[in-house]
Amino acid sequence: MRFIKSKSSATPKEITKFIGFGSPAVFRQLKKLQNKKLIYKTGKPPKVFYYLAMDKNKQMVQNVFNWNASPAKEIPETREYSQTRDVFQARHNKLAKELERETGNTTLAYLLSAAVGEIGNNSFDHNFGNWPDIPGVYCEINLKEKIICLADRGNGVFYTIGRVRPEINDDVGALRVAFTEIVSGRPKENRGNGLKFVRRVIGECKLKLKFYSGNALCAIDEAKIEFKLSDTKVRGTIAIINF
């Protein structure tokens, strides 16, 4: 397991070579570790990778990044994925009640639900009819772990903001404008409050948000907001809320 951890992931061949035992013995041990949920594997032969099992929180974050980065062009069939706004809307309509039940905090439930609605609907508003590949929103919610992940594979904030603010020349600048200035990505329409509203909700409810677009990250921890380059480049947007 230390070997897998040191490499983040490892193929069966690498593990066998490292341990130095025969393949059947190594595979037996790998199976045992999988049954104990200490490791998990992805892919199909000949491309199989073993990973250390992560806590659910990290796993969800990994899932959303995987979905965002996946080269697959097919429409996914997971329950977290909403191809159209009405599907997202139907799922979102249940969120406030579920949050209220789980947290017992009506203010948090209603405000957080509104913020999630703004982020999810933004994806549809700014990419409708113009999705680069897979349309829709990925939204995974774990009320026990208190985490909500949203993602789209749209054009991203820089593309949208750059159309109305041509002087903005990178992802970080675009995110800064989107979270701090009232400017609509859809010219001739009176819009542009969505992410400012999200920021206010995160601050007032003392939550945490990480919002990625392109190679930029906006991290909000209660009232503190920070814009920086992220380690990963994402398509469209990814939002991770911890509450």
């Binding site: 406030a96 209603y110 405000l111 509104a114 609605g117 409050n193």
Partner: protein, 88 residues
């Protein structure tokens, strides 16, 4: 006249939904409005309101009926915050 927003659902979040609500309100509710009659917008029963929905619906209502729209007070945090954003 009183305009109860809960008729459109407890979660009011997207712009297209607000547009639809606005068209329906004009056709079926505001058609009975007397000239100079005030419109009281009632948020009772609304759990989630976003600035997008509020902007699309409330702003259209205020534009169509200047000085005739009264927003009734609400204790709901998302209603209060969204209305604050729209009025900016």
């Amino acid at each position: 006249m009183k305009l109860e927003l809960k008729r459109f659902g407890a979660t009011l979040s997207s712009r297209p939904a607000a547009k639809e609500a606005w068209l329906s309100t004009q056709a079926y509710i505001l058609s009975d409005k007397k000239p100079n009659e005030k419109i009281e917008v009632d948020f009772n029963g609304v759990e989630v309101l976003t600035p997008s929905w509020a902007d699309e619906f409330i702003s259209s209502l205020k534009k169509q009926y200047p000085n005739q729209v009264i927003l009734l007070p609400s204790n709901n945090a998302s209603v209060k915050m969204s209305l604050e954003f729209v009025s900016k």
